[in-house]
């Protein structure tokens, strides 16, 4: 890798790399995102290598490990180029067939294609699959095309072109362009990015800092992890452009330690960028200097809050402090500081490269561009989806997500993580943008979208978030620390059949105070899951309180397990029951002793006859 000392250097090298890559060159891309890796995608690479060699195709077909494609549900994913053919759930034993039939023989391996669970239709090309068809991929666009460890790959796809352009534009124009684009922060409240940069740029003090918030703490959200793992240079390029516009020479990436692969890939990208002269002194001969350090988080959700993150980088307990002063005035090490999250930074190169007008054309007037959602929970096509802002919840959950598995009924979608809320079926047609979600009692947050069906209990979900938050509260404010503890306790009472109307009154009273009197956003938004549940699912709560009944059959204290006459006496449940609560002899109907039963649900899971009944 040469060291680029000017834009000309960069462009001539890019030209050289691109020339060596015919657009129709043949390649096998194996997804190496966390999801596919967990399904065993790493085992595919050596098999492919061996099989390609056996078929004398080595050197003729390139083998690549790429970033996350987003369709995690169907992993491991293998893409065949230039055809764009997608094979799903590929196992090592499938590889010889793919090489023999497809790569050597030019015949499609039908059985590995994606098949629509409803229509049964098989799809050959990735872009034709409904999951991908309705998406508009910008930030994730190159994830499946490049090897995250290769700077060459990024350059071949136009990487760092926007940075060179930014240098030519000058910081003021870059700032104007970002402001004009209408970009809003993808990490939470959706503050205007350009405005935020402007405040920091205007703050007195020459020694400014930018931070990339990669502490993706919302459970159920993993787009930032995927962007860093799949396309780390796009984040670095965005940060470089931002640093140039703001006038910062120092950068930090604060990344979750729970994401070891992302830490590793980002570290490599930083080293490669440094070697190529894209980080350091006098970048591309512009006179601009910038370098960055990676800080690993210690495992604290509250550190996603700006002042807590700063405290953590400074080596202290991640306790938020009162603002003002805002980080833009006095932030990390007392210097003016600008913080944006991974997805926000990764949008920046697109805005500079294509222009604000092009960017504004995507999405809605006040929520421009695309947003990545992690579509998870009770949905057929789990994965990462990137859509233009303003698309409806229904399109995301049903058109892209393929609806609810097992023919069950949709109940709610939770957006915005622990600071967000649960929206019911009646809200499926609202447009997904920053302001509408807030108006409806939820939040964009970082883009977690957890689908719930009729077998999800909303009391249980509210209790889940309260448990999460009381554990993640830094413990400074009485209202948040003890208020959330008490709210969790009250919801436990409801879930365990001890609730009354008085419990609900206490819940509402406490929720008000936690929201109004906590110092930081963790506390002030912590009751959103509770309030949205009270607003949209009051009937379900009342069923727990008045009738001592859990309609979704989740709350242990309110359900019983029984065995019906479908039982064929296979004895499996009796063997696996940890309490020895099930009696019965071979080929005879089994019975659960309700006094011994702890409602662990193992009998239900192991029964092959559908004979265990929950009521």
């Amino acid at each position: 890798m040469p060291r680029f000392s000017s834009e000309k250097d960069l462009e001539s090298y890019r030209h050289k790399v691109a020339a060596g890559r015919a657009p129709d060159r043949r390649a096998v891309a194996v997804c190496a995102g966390t999801g596919c890796k967990a399904f065993g995608s790493a085992k595919l690479l050596p098999v492919f290598e061996a099989e390609l060699a056996k078929a004398s195709l080595k050197g003729k077909i390139e083998l690549r490990a790429t970033g996350c494609h987003g369709f995690c549900e169907r992993g491991p994913l293998v893409l065949i180029f230039p055809a764009g053919r997608l094979y799903t759930k590929v196992k090592p034993e499938d590889v010889p067939e793919i090489v023999r039939e497809d790569l050597a023989g030019g015949r499609v391996v039908e059985r590995l294609l994606y098949r629509d669970p409803v229509s049964g239709k098989a799809y050959e090309k990735e872009e034709d699959i409904p999951f991908y068809m309705h998406q508009q991929r910008l930030v994730l666009k190159n994830n499946g095309l490049l090897d995250p460890a290769s700077l060459d790959d990024y350059l071949a796809l136009g990487g760092y072109r926007a940075l060179a352009k930014a240098f030519a534009m000058g910081p003021e124009k870059v700032l104007e362009e970002v402001k004009k684009s209408g970009l809003r922060g993808r990490g939470g409240a959706g503050f205007w990015t350009g405005r935020k940069w402007e405040i920091c740029r205007a703050a007195p003090g020459p020694d400014k800092v930018i931070i990339c918030n990669a502490d993706e703490g919302d459970p159920g959200a993993f787009m930032d992890r995927s962007v860093i793992e799949g396309n780390p240079h796009s984040v670095l390029e965005g940060m470089l452009i931002g640093a140039f516009a703001i006038g910062a020479s120092t950068g930090c990436v604060y990344i979750r330690q729970e994401y070891p692969l992302a830490v590793e890939r980002l570290g490599r990208a930083v080293a490669a960028a440094r070697e190529a002269g894209l980080l350091g002194e006098n970048i591309l001969g512009s006179g601009f200097a910038f370098d960055l350090r990676i800080y690993r988080g210690g495992g604290a959700f509250v550190c996603g809050e700006e002042s807590a993150m700063i405290a953590s980088i400074e080596g202290r307990r991640g306790v938020p402090r009162r603002r003002p002063p805002y980080p833009a005035q006095s932030g990390l090490w007392g210097r003016p500081t600008n913080i944006n999250n991974v997805e926000t930074w990764a949008n920046v190169p697109w805005i500079i490269d294509r222009g604000a007008d092009w960017y504004r054309a995507i999405g809605t007037e006040k929520s421009t561009g695309t947003k990545i959602f992690s579509l998870v929970g009770k949905v057929n096509n789990t994965g990462l989806v990137e859509v233009p802002m303003g698309i409806s919840l229904r399109q995301i959950v049903f058109d892209i997500g393929g609806g609810i598995p097992g023919g069950k009924k949709f109940k709610a979608v939770q957006t915005g993580g622990p600071s967000g809320g649960c929206l019911p079926a009646s809200k499926l047609d609202i447009p997904v943008d920053f302001d509408t979600l807030v108006r409806e009692g939820a939040m964009m947050g970082s883009g977690g979208m957890i689908v719930m069906d009729e077998s999800t209990c909303m009391v249980d979900v509210a209790r889940y978030f309260l448990n999460f938050l009381k554990f993640e509260s830094c413990g400074n404010c009485t209202s948040c620390r003890d208020g959330l503890y008490q709210l969790h306790r009250l919801f436990t009472d409801i879930a365990e059949g001890r609730g009354s109307e008085h419990t609900l009154e206490l819940v509402e009273e406490l929720a008000r105070t936690v929201k109004a009197t906590s110092l930081c956003a963790l506390g002030s938004t912590a009751v959103n899951p509770v309030e949205s549940t009270l607003k949209y699912f009051r009937e379900e709560i009342l069923a727990h309180v008045r009738d001592r009944r859990c309609p979704a059959k989740v709350c242990k204290a309110l359900i019983t397990y029984t065995i019906n006459d479908k039982c064929n006496g296979c004895t499996l449940c009796a063997k696996r029951c940890p309490q020895q609560a099930i009696t019965g002899t071979v080929k005879k109907l089994h019975v659960i002793d309700q006094k011994k039963c702890i409602k662990c649900g193992i009998c239900l899971d192991v029964c092959k006859q559908d004979a265990v009944w929950v009521e």
Partner: protein
Amino acid sequence: MAIRIFIDEQEVKAEPGESVLMVARRAGFDIPALCYHEAVESIGACRLCLVEVRSGARPGISTSCNMKAEDGLRISTDSPEIRRDRATNLELLLLRAPGSPVLRELAARWGVRPRLQPPPDAGIANCILCELCVRVCAALGHNALAAVGRGEKKRVGPAFGKPAEGCVGCGACLSVCPTRCIVMKDTPAARTIWGQSFEFHRCQVCGQPVITEKHRAFAIAKRGLPEDYYDVCEPCKQSQASQRFASVVW
């Protein structure tokens, strides 16, 4: 240069950057606060010193201890919302420290009765986790205490839950503790606090304890005092001085 702020429509003079709570108290307003001490930085932990901001870009309920006075700031110290939220936070504190006379007195005054279950007692009984002890100990240069853990499991104490490194037995932590929950025991010979005993340095005149030996060594080294500085206790020093004075006059 002095600035003006408005508390319940009354104009009050303040220095820029001063704690609004301090300004209000100086002007005679009664705002309760348990975690505030003017000698150390405010952290806004107890959430009792609530006021309502009625000016600027961010109106609404806020704590006053960590709010800085700015020219033209308008706040009110009483409203149904303030009373309601303050009562709820007091109730939560009372559950943690049912034995604290200060909290009981406040609860009686505002008619607050606990309706909820107390949280599990992870740390010191009756501790409301305000960290005043931690902050004062750090400000005095001992750094023997810390906030430990987080969320519902937060507590305060010395490192590793063992006798505190750096503790000199000065007792400042107890003197600032709003619920007086820190256990300190003095005998004529020694003081026991945070799991350690500290021998007293005694007055050479009356024999009463003056200061712990460890605190004496710390203070002499830090403040460059003469070795015999703590050899006579304050009352004896005074009576010696008045005797000297008497011998000169008469």
